[in-house]
């Protein structure tokens, strides 16, 4: 018996056996097959950009990167605050210095510590 002949005999035997299966067993087999087919997910095509997004999301989700980004944002916010504060202070200084220097009150009167005391004493007298 060669191989081909053996395969033919197996097929014939299976076909004959199939004819002998009870109707209720056939119905159960059919229902099981349909349930398996409906449960099978359709294969989806994944675009390359989605893959990149998935990669980024995966990495962003990792705690290490999240902590690093939070630390970076914190330092950046502090640096911006310092820059803003510096600008604000310089604006305040230029405001008061230009007013002080262009006023007709003598600068020495503001610098001389003794004058302040003398002024208080002279007002008390």
């Amino acid at each position: 018996m060669n191989e081909l002949h053996f395969a033919f005999r197996v097929r014939q035997h299976l076909n004959q056996s199939l004819q002998q299966i009870d109707d209720d067993k056939l119905a159960r087999l059919k229902a099981a097959r349909e349930a398996a087919l409906s449960a099978q997910k359709a294969p989806a095509t994944v675009p390359s950009l989605a893959s990149a997004g998935h990669y980024l999301r995966f990495n962003f989700d990792s705690r290490g990167l999240r902590f690093s980004l939070a630390a970076l944002a914190l330092v950046l916010a502090a640096a911006l605050y310092v820059h803003w504060q510096g600008d604000k202070l310089i604006a305040e200084l230029s405001d008061i210095d230009s007013a002080l220097l262009s006023d007709d009150v003598p600068m020495e009167a503001l610098v001389d510590k003794d004058f302040n005391e003398w002024l208080k004493n002279s007002q008390e007298r």
């Binding site: 002080l100 220097l101 600068m107």
Partner: protein
């Protein structure tokens, strides 16, 4: 990971605290590099001419402040402009503590009503006269005898 965040938090707090502290010197403020005297425009050099010799020794914060003052200068009256330029160099020569104290006194002075401001200016003249007299008296020899100008100490013996 938490160490990274804690480190960043400490760094941020340090930076923030440095910025928030009331500075006695403007040197604590981080300011980007400001132009050298040679890089200033002709107009800026004219306005800031009393600071010409000191400019390149000023820190970036003070340079930035003076550049802002130079911008305000353009909107001042000629009298105010003259006053500003007259005082500019002397002001820059003061110590940071002296400038800080003078600003505080000026703020107080500025809140006074006009008549009181005039009174303070008059009082300043009075105070100067008293000081001058005191200095003249100290310069005179003890006993009140004035030595003639052409008499040397040896000749008086």
């Amino acid at each position: 990971m938490a160490k990274k965040l804690a480190g960043a938090l400490i760094a941020a707090l340090c930076i923030g605290a440095a910025a928030h502290a009331t500075p006695t010197s403007t040197a604590v403020i981080a300011t980007p590099p400001q132009p050298s005297w040679a890089s200033l425009s002709v107009e800026q050099k004219t306005i800031l001419s009393p600071l010409g010799n000191e400019w390149d020794r000023l820190d970036n914060t003070r340079r930035k402040k003076w550049l802002a003052i130079a911008e305000r200068y353009k909107r001042m009256t000629p009298t105010e402009q003259t006053r500003l330029q007259d005082k500019m160099r002397d002001w820059a020569m003061l110590s940071p503590e002296q400038r800080l104290a003078a600003r505080e006194r000026f703020k107080e002075f500025n809140q006074l009503p006009p008549e009181e401001r005039e009174n303070v200016k008059q009082k300043w003249q009075e105070y100067r006269q008293q000081k001058d007299e005191e200095q003249r008296r100290k310069a005179e020899p003890a006993g009140g005898d004035t030595v003639p100008a052409n008499t040397t100490p040896e000749a008086g013996k």
